[in-house]
């Protein structure tokens, strides 16, 4: 057993940490999220220059050759700064699907552009009726000669507004929830028949509702094997789940520390409120929730690094259950202990709370992962 990081991993963590610390101050972030684009192209270029956009890709594909541990370290630091640049949708979702299932021509076409920062992407998988079931699809793709015709509706597609490339899950055969018959397609976001409705999310990201009407796709648009995409999707989603969980751990760390600091300085009844034992115990609980989450984060990352199978899936689900519960507890109590200040849009605390709330929803909430844990 070994809980230490390699020199290279430490360097990566430190460089992300420095960026968040020096260039991602909360006030600047708030300006960004209110801008037209919702994030910074300059930051994205910086990510490319520092090699972060290539972290999960193999060196032969032009990447950094990292894996789940590297992604975890990076995302935990992103979480501390509430980074809004679309790293998860572009690099970790669309990027992972290409990495896992792409033919070499597809990888050659897209990965270099993801890694150099010139391509934005999104994964359109969720549908209104499907909740967290990745196989529950009413979007269909039907053969038309050599081509495919894509038809359907996807909801809450993160980074939809900026994406040049959409990876879309669709049913090619079988019943609405069947595990087989699911396929993936690479769709140019500006293709005829693709229409979007863009909006901000409660945690200040950007997303879209996307309608596909008779979108004609060539045969090279198929990503992976026709009808056999579900395992690929599950793996990409599990990788991304680990990533946003790590982000949440970063959020929790900021929140418990900020709350401790606040309670040391805020005075009521002639003393710092941190002197009240009931608040001390609450902060101890917040701290413990953070530590427990961090432990399962390491477990999930190590299991994923060992290889993708039931052990890894189970560990990711366990981690997501813990993070969902802990994140809510820490987020809600950070607001509570800051009193009125915690409720303000001006202070960062409420924004971490909002992010922790949506992390619980993303890629399946506590109930979903509890059930998955039990079924594996």
């Amino acid at each position: 057993m070994d809980f230490s990081f390699s020199e290279e991993q430490t360097l990566l963590k430190d460089s992300v940490s420095r960026f968040v610390h020096n260039d991602y101050e909360f006030a600047a972030r708030q300006k960004l999220v209110k801008s037209e684009l919702g994030y910074s192209r300059d930051h994205w270029r910086t990510f490319a220059e520092l090699g972060w956009l290539g972290v999960p890709f193999a060196e032969k594909d032009g990447g950094y050759g990292g894996g789940p541990l590297e992604t975890m370290l990076l995302m935990e630091e992103f979480g501390k700064g509430l980074v809004v640049e679309p790293y998860v949708p572009t690099v970790l979702l669309a990027g992972a699907l290409l990495r896992i299932a792409g033919k070499s021509a597809q990888k050659e076409r897209y990965l270099p552009r993801i890694i150099d920062g010139s391509l934005q992407a999104a994964f359109a998988f969720a549908e209104p009726q499907g909740r967290f079931n990745l196989a529950d699809l009413t979007t269909t793709a039907k053969k038309d000669g050599e081509d495919w015709l894509l038809e359907g509706y996807k909801c809450v597609v993160l980074n939809g507004p900026s994406a040049d490339l959409l990876v879309v899950s669709a049913r090619t055969t079988g019943a609405q929830r069947a595990r087989t018959g699911v396929s993936l397609f690479l769709v140019d976001a500006s293709a005829a028949g693709v229409s979007r409705r863009d909006y901000p999310t409660v945690d200040a990201l950007r997303a879209s509702e996307i309608t596909f009407e008779n979108v004609r796709l060539g045969k090279d648009a198929v990503l992976g094997r026709v009808g056999r995409a579900l395992p690929v999707i599950e793996q990409a989603i599990d990788e991304a789940t680990l990533a946003i969980g790590a982000e949440a751990v970063g959020c929790m760390e900021v929140l418990y520390k900020a709350t401790v600091e606040y309670c040391k300085t805020r005075e009521q009844f002639g003393q710092p409120i941190g002197k009240f034992q009931v608040l001390q115990h609450r902060m101890v609980d917040m701290f413990m929730e953070y530590e427990q989450s961090k432990s399962l984060m390491y477990m999930a990352a190590m299991r994923m690094a060992e290889g993708y199978g039931d052990e890894a899936k189970k560990a990711v689900s366990a981690f997501k259950v813990q993070v969902g519960k802990s994140g809510r507890f820490v987020g809600q109590n950070a607001v509570q202990l800051h009193g009125g200040m915690g409720m303000t849009d001006e202070l960062n605390v409420g924004h971490y709370f909002k992010r922790l709330t949506t992390v619980d929803t993303l890629f399946g909430n506590v109930d979903h992962h509890l059930r998955r844990f039990g079924s594996l």
Binding site: V202, Q268, Q332, M343
Partner: protein, 395 residues
């Protein structure tokens, strides 16, 4: 012991239902739901409802009959709260009708009562509560906004914060320090009624989570307030305000509101394919049982204050459990919404292009965010527990 309503109460219930049907038709309900969150003033349909209440003598039923109250028994109040909540009837702003009015009819001068109670009863004037200050939240008695006598006026200087609705309010009831040298800090505080149009008042919006504008910072620079606008005696304001805080607490249990919210949540769960989800169903049932217990606890509290007195410190239970349950319902709403708990477009976008997804989840998200404040304001839940520990358990 008997839980059944007697014949007279059943008649009353029928009367209330008929009244609601006549004056709060479905069309008004639908319209009100869409507009209520955006406006500080009653909308047209809400105005009509308040007017009907005033005409019937039911706008402020909990007041003493001499001032326009309805002389109801606790059971009747309970029936009223339940029926109006279940029909989504608009509520009068609590600041005038529930928080200030009891102070005025108990301690106000005849002139103050005559000037201020009728417009509150008729929902024609809105009030805000100027208690909290940047340095005085839970420890309210440490407030420093200063009022100094100058002839037949006070000159008021200081800063209030978190003042809900100050940007819509005509008047503010306010705690100020009149004697900075009092032996105990509670003893140097007075209760003033301040016209919000007075020169020297500045209102700064404070956005809360979800970019909602409900609260404000209010600064007072040499604001002149006539001595006649002081309620009761000088330096006795804390006693009046404390009496008023227990009134604030009873309304806060929100049993009927939570019952309605829970019922909506059950529909939402159905609509979101959670109908055969045992885990979720169990959570709803647990919540329902907690709410039943709270309802009975509230009824027991009401029974002990038969005749209209203020409830004792055990009423803190209502506030703690009431807010915990309401927040839990909000959390489950977010769970039920699945991915549609994420979109949060500006209201104009929805007005122009319609809701996102199968239902408009934005008000629910906004409500969840605002709902976090319920365990902070009106005496935080930690402070309520301190009260129970001290005043009930004698610790």
């Amino acid at each position: 012991m008997n839980l059944e309503l007697d014949a007279a109460d059943r008649d009353f219930q029928a009367e209330v239902r008929a009244f609601i049907d006549a004056h709060w038709p479905d069309a008004a309900r639908a319209q009100a739901r869409d507009t209520v969150a955006r406006e500080g003033r009653p909308s047209v349909v809400e105005r009509a409802w308040f007017d009907a209440l005033v005409a019937r003598g039911w706008s402020v039923p909990h007041w003493p009959a001499a001032h326009g109250g309805a002389n109801w028994s606790p059971t009747q109040h309970y029936i009223w709260a339940r029926e109006t909540a279940h029909a989504d009837c608009p509520e009068m702003s609590p600041f005038g009708s529930r928080m200030l009015a009891p102070v005025l009819y108990t301690w106000g001068s005849p002139a103050q009562q005559a000037a201020h109670l009728p417009p509150i009863r008729e929902a024609r004037i809105t009030w805000c509560q100027g208690y909290s200050e940047p340095g005085a939240g839970s420890d309210l008695a440490s407030l420093t906004t200063r009022a100094v006598r100058d002839g037949d006026h006070y000159v008021v200087n200081g800063a209030k914060t978190w003042t809900s609705g100050a940007h819509h309010a005509d008047w503010m009831f306010c705690l100020v320090r009149t004697d900075p040298h009092a032996r105990k800090k509670q003893e140097g505080i007075s209760f003033l009624l301040i016209d919000m149009r007075s020169p020297g008042i500045e209102i700064r919006p404070i956005l809360i989570l979800g970019e909602q504008h409900t609260v404000n910072g209010v600064t007072l620079n040499d604001v002149r307030v006539p001595l006649a606008n002081r309620v009761g005696e000088e330096n006795r304001g804390w006693t009046y305000a404390k009496g008023l805080l227990t009134h604030e607490r009873t309304g806060i249990a929100g049993v009927a509101r939570s019952q309605v919210a829970l019922r909506r949540l059950r529909y939402l769960a159905l609509a979101n394919g959670l109908d055969d989800d045992d885990v979720f169903a169990t959570k709803l049932d647990e919540l329902e049982i907690e709410l039943l217990a709270l309802e009975m606890t509230e009824l027991r509290t009401l029974a002990t204050v038969e005749g209209g007195g203020a409830p004792g410190p055990e009423s803190s239970i209502l506030k703690i459990k009431g807010t915990e349950i309401a927040q839990r319902i909000d959390d489950l709403v977010i769970e039920a919404l699945g991915y549609y708990a994420l979109p949060y477009p500006a209201p104009q976008l929805i007005d122009n292009e319609g809701p996102i997804g199968p239902m408009n989840a934005v008000p629910a998200i906004r409500g969840m965010l605002y709902g976090r404040a319920a365990s902070i304001f009106g005496g935080s839940n930690e402070i309520q527990k301190n009260i129970i520990a001290k005043a009930v358990l004698g610790l």
